[in-house]
Amino acid sequence: MREIMTSSGDGQHIMLSTDDLRRNIVAGSVDAAQKGKIDGLTQAEINHLMDIFRQPAKTVSVEPGKEVIVSDDGAGLMASWGRPSAGHAIPISDHQSILMYERVYCGDTCGLGFPDYSYKPVKSAIGYARSHYKAISMLTTIPLVYGSQPNMGMYYHPSGPIEPPFDHFSKGEFEKGFQLQEEAARIMCNDIYYVAEQLYEVGCEAINLDTTGSAGDAEFWGVLQVVEDIKTKLPDMPVEMGMAGEEVIGMHGKLTYQGERLAGMYPHQQVEMAAKAGVDIFGVAVNSDTSESTPYNLARAVTFMKAAANNSPIPVHANSGMGVGGMPMTLLPPVGCSTRCAKALVEIGKADGL
């Protein structure tokens, strides 16, 4: 029987038999279903995912009519950016890179941001961000979304003003640790709102709070509150919120939003909170396991994605970049994996976009 070529979670090519492919898909779906307490994939969905991996073509695509919106977190700037962000470092401007993304690659929306992709450093470079946004938004026709990460970890020593709460946890000083996280969240909120307001003044069409929850439940808690502020005080500015992972890590553990404990929430619960705060498009992030196969990781991602899409009153996009959405954790993902992840997240996961 023909073996199926796919990848491991670190991007290495691997070969699987049909039986192994099915075992990997079932295991990934069962893992997501158990962790999230959600429905696993049905037999028909497992067969559909099997078919996607078994297609002999190098790349696959969705059926005509099932196309979705593709949003991004810096893909439009990939050509012009170099380090510290992932990029090709071609000596062209961000203006040129974004117009290429709009008119050559034909993305549906495009992200703009600062190479040090967190709101804290953007605050220091706000004049640059404003003029950059204003000039480029005059030229673009597709929605231009300003993106950055809340990245609450940057507010702790040594890069920020707040003592690391974990030093206190290790001494059993829990209340102090909680208080420090809440303080970091408040400063983060002020920075995010400042940037949003400054960009709003130059006509910002939408803002993206990308990789939300990377520092745990206190970060998610803070971001939900700043979304409320943005939606209340800056009318007609849509908000996208993309998550950092499938589970909100309980670094604090006690924080709630509208009566719901945030720690331990999975995508189908996260999206409910985001919608209540006023988010317009929510991005589901499901992390890949580098020691598992892409079929395993994709089955997991699709299972979480489907539960979130079914439970959501707002459009849900699947984060499908490096190490999320079934994608291998590598800078150079095999094109067969990229397209198979996209097809499965849309056709089985019922994503409204990528």
Binding site: T59, V60, S61, V62, P64, G65, E67, V68, I69, V70, S71, D72, D73, G74, A75, G76, M78, A86, E102, R103, C106, G107, D108, T109, S137, M138, L139, T140, T141, I142, P143, G147, G203, C204, E205, N208, D210, P235, D236, P238, E240, G242, I281, G283, I314, P315, H317, S320, G321, M322, T330, L331, L332, P333, V335, S338, T339, D352, G353, L354
Partner: protein, 112 residues
């Protein structure tokens, strides 16, 4: 959000599953998601209704090229159309009847 980070992933995923941006009606459907919180099917139906097209036409490059040119909605070939950038977005906001903040601000500046 969406695609990104890894080298080459955006191009692969755009071809695999994207509506096609200004090559078709992708940006119009995206505006409906962003400004009206519409899920994909509802957003497509809304745009199709406003353009008096069927759903299949939204990703038909030939049809949409003509529609975009006639209505001034921008194109991948800027010198083939009258409107691009903020001018096209102004037309899009009126056609879809949605608020686009950059357009609102620009029009406010023109009135001063």
């Amino acid at each position: 959000m969406g695609t990104g980070d890894s080298h080459g992933v955006a191009i692969a995923q755009i071809i695999s599953s994207c509506m096609g941006g200004i090559r078709t009606a992708g940006d119009l459907v995206a505006w409906m998601q962003l400004t009206c919180k519409m899920k994909i099917d509802q957003a497509k139906e809304s745009v199709a209704q406003k353009l008096n097209l069927n759903l299949q036409d939204l990703t038909n490059e030939t049809t949409m090229s003509k529609v975009r040119s006639e209505k001034g909605l921008g194109s991948v070939i800027p010198d083939h159309v009258e409107y691009m950038g903020i001018a096209a977005k102004s037309k899009i906001a009126k056609l879809l009847d949605v608020p686009i903040h950059s357009v609102n601000l620009y029009e406010k500046h023109l009135e001063k």
